[in-house]
Amino acid sequence: MKTHQYEVVIVGAGGAGLMAALYASKNASTAVLSKLYPTRSHTGAAQGGVGAALGSSEEDHPEWHTFDTVKGSDYLGDQDAIEFMCEEAVPAIYELEHMGLPFDRTPEGKISQRPFGGHTNNITKKPVTRAAHAADRTGHMILQTLYQQCIKNNVKFHDEFQVIDLIVVNNAAAGVVAVELSTGELHIFHAKAIIFATGGHGRIWEITSNAYAYTGDGIAIALRRGIPAQDMEFFQFHPTGIYKLGILITEGVRGEGGVLINNDGERFMDRYAPTVKDLASRDVVSRAMYLEMMAGRGINGKKYLYLDVTPEVVNKYAALDGRKRPDGSAFQTTGEEILAKLPDIIDFCQVYLGVNPINQPMPVQPTAHYAMGGIPTNVNGEVVIDDKNTVMPGLYAAGEVACVSVHGANRLGTNSLLDLVVFGKHSGINAAEYAKGASFQPLPGDAGEYSRDQLEALLNGEGSERVTDIANEMKQVMFEHVGVFRVEEGMQQAVEKVRELKERFKYVRVQDHGKIFNTELLNAWEISNLLDLAEVTAVSALARKESRGAHARDDFQKRNDIEWLKHTLAWMRDGKIDLGYKPVTLTKYEPKERVY
């Protein structure tokens, strides 16, 4: 077994991993391991923008961004961390621009910004232009820019290495074990500090905007090594996924004036969020859509609605809303302007639906999109492993895999790209600094054993279960019962079903017994991760007897701050899930009812 040694090892090469790599590699020997080529990472699928109170074309302040994020989180976000992120946002976005990121521009040559759900002028309560964007491929441009800078700075990459295990020695992180896809060989990466930046796990659900690769590897590995997962019941369903396919249609469509329409031709968000309407936060809009569909107002009675960005409809509602451009003129748009601002969305609709959004509305439904929960960290990116926030030395997490928590019970659009830039950077700085003052932990003699056992169990399985069948049954039960709306009985069913599937998973059969690019084997291992995370998600959700943010229960419809203003921690111990809780950090903002 080949052993490598670096001071800092980063697992994952999306925005958070690459930002961490740029900073860690300045001061420490650093390597990035990624199961995909870095530019294939899911950061590249982010569309609409990255939030920062730059105030390019109207008044804005980091304090407003902070309050909007706290409110968006339904008061479950830690306010010190949110304030840190929103303050850091402004220099971080300028830093990306200095790295060459091709943001769209205002007529004055500044970074262009658009409105996004939940981001407001705190005085007028109206939407504010806070989402800095590069057309509707902002994530693509962030990912490309960071990868380009990594090339410039000679960052060391091990591409197509799938990390399977974390090595823990003396309660500190000591390395990771990874499979080299091209050979099937296990490698040990011995390190002083490890940063997990492995992304999310939306593949638990049937309809999702998430990539095949989004299988929650980082959280699953951490759970198996005794590290808890935080706030896993909070998973964001983005309101506008393409019907049946789940492919994301950016909230930027509504930022550019698009509206949601039901089967009666009604712009129904008026009734649910009278002030910001279609630009309410995502949990609110997804629930409104569900209620419309349950009331029989889905299009042709089916489980979808229309998202309409045709210029006539945009202009009609912009006039009704009295919407103005930042210069004070009335907001009116044209097909050409929409094409220039949303080229990829128009392309997706034409390719997958044969619909041109400039002439026709888009059929949309809520789609599983983003994990608010994840590996608990503090504001430095250090992983914390209990209700007292005890740090595990040498282990860091950043981006979607982490739960700082800046998103609480519901993330605002544009804050995921911001999260990965800010916390990627700081985890990189802090990991390198820690590594400089720490020594390598001695590696255990059998460091690769647990990884080998997991893979061999899949290779030598003699049962007749098919991985795909198990995965599909998980996705269906989770989408039905641990989705936008939840009730006790349904979640209980989901827990039992996932446990049954985990039992059946012991009897899966992998046909490919080769070494080279055995994607079947590694896909099966990924499904085992999703099963663990599905169980943790359903168990955490079942226990939380209130409605907050993305966790909406029919049987407990109100938020309950007296009993439930606290973070969930879930441990996997001896095949069981143990739950614990820890307090939310409140600083300036008293929890209030959320109205948009």
């Binding site: 990539a211 390719v351 994607t519």
Partner: protein
Amino acid sequence: MQIKLKVFRYNPEQDKKPKYQTYELEAEPTDRVLDLLEHVKNYVDGTLSFRRSCAHGVCGSDAMRINGVNKLACKVLVHDLHTTKIRVEPILGLPIIKDLIVDMEPFMEHYRSVMPFFVNDEKPPSKERHQTQEERARFDDTTKCILCACCTTACPSFWANEQYVGPAAIVNAHRFIFDSRDRAAAERLKILNDQFGVYPCHTIFNCTVACPREIEITQAIGEVKKAIVTGRLD
């Protein structure tokens, strides 16, 4: 509808030479070719190997030759092909590792050779560097590249000589050469003013046809050639 899916197969651990395997399966006209490959892998033959991730044309993992033309398997629907016989093969000109998976390293090496990163060592302002909307639009098209390799592996000049940097590398050089904020255009033009730089491009347009992001690649290469000849970036 009933589809005959003919797939290039090669497992270096077992096969002396490549072969084709045909799978008959039921598909919807709106299924992606990637969905068909997933179906085969999940229900028929788990050993079939290919790369994929986002499944909607933005990550660039699943470039392959579909009925002889380079495409992303996730961006081609069955009905787009106007036939029930679908042939899927690896992209050409890169070493085949297994089935539809090729070694991307020679492609990435060419990409890295053209300084595909922003260079400006002047002290930045405290806020953003200003850029007009026209200056930003000048290189918009080439910022869309996802490094899928559809273009380079559709290029006869690249098939003829793997030392040619290829269209994708030139596209990524173009993205910086024409960025008003960048300061290394001259160095990139010098790199591309080479027998394996822009000159093997004979404006065949295969690259432009192949690009799943609809980048006007031949035009971009033409603009780089012109800048080399004239020494000007307008």
